[in-house]
């Protein structure tokens, strides 16, 4: 067994000493180019064409982020996290920010729109401030379209289509955070 190990080690070391990592990829690429290029490309494009969105945050493009607090449950990189019930945009949790912080290099707009979301853990309705982060790079990762309580733009303060980058140096949209402002009063029935 030891002899076999030493033989394998010798062969691998010999191979490695004469071969750069790049050329290993070249070697593998040679096989892939010959065997897989033709079938792969149409299949990949066909999959996209059938509506598989590359932006779907549930596609695993970002590792999960949890609060650790059972009263604030859910993955903050997914559209179905409870605070995102009225988000129409990209989640800052996927760009180096968090559910309450903008990514480095961006600026948080002080002017915002608000929504009301129900926390599935404590069953309270919370007023959520959806502040946009502006002036950074946006490219479609973790894009969500949730419209709970959203209304047409005639009342812009309850509309999520507007780019809420006001009072910032750049009005170019990057992503959105979801801050708890407080508990909403229950409507009397």
């Amino acid at each position: 067994m030891n002899q076999l190990d030493r033989l394998a080690e010798k062969m691998l070391r010999g191979f490695a000493s004469r071969t750069s990592r790049r050329s290993v990829f070249s070697l593998l690429g040679g096989f892939l180019a010959g065997a897989a290029t033709l079938p792969l490309l149409p299949v990949a494009r066909g999959g996209e064409a059938e509506g598989t969105s590359p932006n779907d945050p549930s596609s695993g493009e970002e590792s999960p982020q949890f609060s650790g607090n059972p009263q604030d449950p859910g993955d903050r990189t997914k559209c179905d996290y409870w605070r995102y019930c009225a988000v129409d945009g990209s989640l800052c949790s996927c760009y180096g920010g968090s559910v309450t912080a903008c990514p480095p290099g961006t600026e948080m707009s002080p002017i915002t729109w608000i929504g009301t979301c129900r926390n599935p853990a404590d069953q309270h309705n919370y007023i959520i401030s959806y502040n946009d982060c502006c002036g950074g790079v946006a490219w479609g990762r973790c894009a969500c379209q949730n419209n709970q309580g959203d209304r047409p733009i005639v009342r812009p303060q309850t509309n999520n289509e507007v780019t809420w980058c006001f009072g910032t140096k750049s009005q170019s949209y990057t992503c959105t955070v979801a801050l708890i402002l407080g508990v909403a009063l229950d409507q009397k029935k």
Partner: protein, 430 residues
Amino acid sequence: MRSLRAHRKSDRLPEALSIQPAGVDVHSPERAGAPRLTDNEGMNDMSTLVPVLMCAALTAGAAAAAAASAASFPNPLPPDPTLRVEKLPAKYPAGWAFLNYAGDRIELRNVGSDSREVKAELQARDSTSLLVSDKRPEIYTADTVWSRGVRGTRTDFITIYDSQTLDVTGEIVLPGAKRALITAMEGMFAFTDDQRLALVFNFTPTASVTVVDLVKRQPLGEIEIPGCMLVYPSGQRGFSTLCSSGTLLNVRLDAGGAVAGRTESKPFNQLDADPLFTASAALGGVRYFPSLHGRIQPIDMKSDDVQVLPDWPLVSADEKAANWRPSGWQLIASDDKKFLYVLMQADAEEGTYKDPAGEVWVFNPSTKTRVRRMRLVRPGSSIALTHGTDQLMLVQAGTRLDVYDPQGGALVRSLGLPGLHTRLQMEPVH
């Protein structure tokens, strides 16, 4: 809705697929990083010998096939004629449509044929809105850029394109850096005064309208519309706008683009109970706005005396109980026969009013009755009809553009919308 920039990394081939096999690169044997096979190395090492032999066998087979193919064509191809740039026809065929990808690009596409689809592309950066003139051979886009990509000095501007060459023949810089950044949608950019003037909606979040002279190619002034959103051309020279008090503000302009008069309707938009969508379809100068719960609100905008007409239901009592409601983005369209086409969703509830819809319902507004209903092959978010004798119904469904026969509802063809990340705003050519 944000105008997210398209992610183009996925358009590239994986790096490994573009690299030549090691050891058989006869064209550049000295290339750095590509090990050569010599008598002294490699050939004695089984770890490289097997894959190299396999590569060589594959290459030899390909060479034999290439030689056989070459024998079939004894003469080489002739040189191509002088390089040229494609030109569009003076009048676009009726089966063409502009597809606005809302912050990425605007495509001119032939949706009426299975042949060549994409005819041209226009630049679009943020909430880009389009106007196509039928009075002059020009196309206009209102757009916003920053001097350093996502930062730097902001410029709002209208680009003027020649409609045949798509050469940029002019530009109008809009003052104040206040053009509304929402997404491509109805009400952002509109003609008035027989297409001499353009109206640009601003939101900072103070709402206003910039009036632009497209013939002289200069901005004329700005009109404050506090508490109101979007612009819909009305009368001979002017616009109407939907206000947060539930009213409609109507603004008349003089020849210089200044305010000549204002009127405001009584409140009619039930913003708490059943607000109107801001998307509309026009028939004979009357705009029809669906409501979230299934009414339709006509507003006669032909003359300067704008009239809010009585609303009527799109759904019966039973359909209302089953929560059939209008839904989507560009969710209503009209044809040339005076019918309205509305995207409708079953089992609608709070938060679904912008979701894709499963059916199209066709209404005759003169009789206020439904003419027919069509089930879509997949749920759609935006709808439009091409113009001309053989009209087609276009429905954007995810990253597909489904083309239907609007009479029988049969699917005619389906086109891909690669790179569509947000909403699609469609404008078939006249």
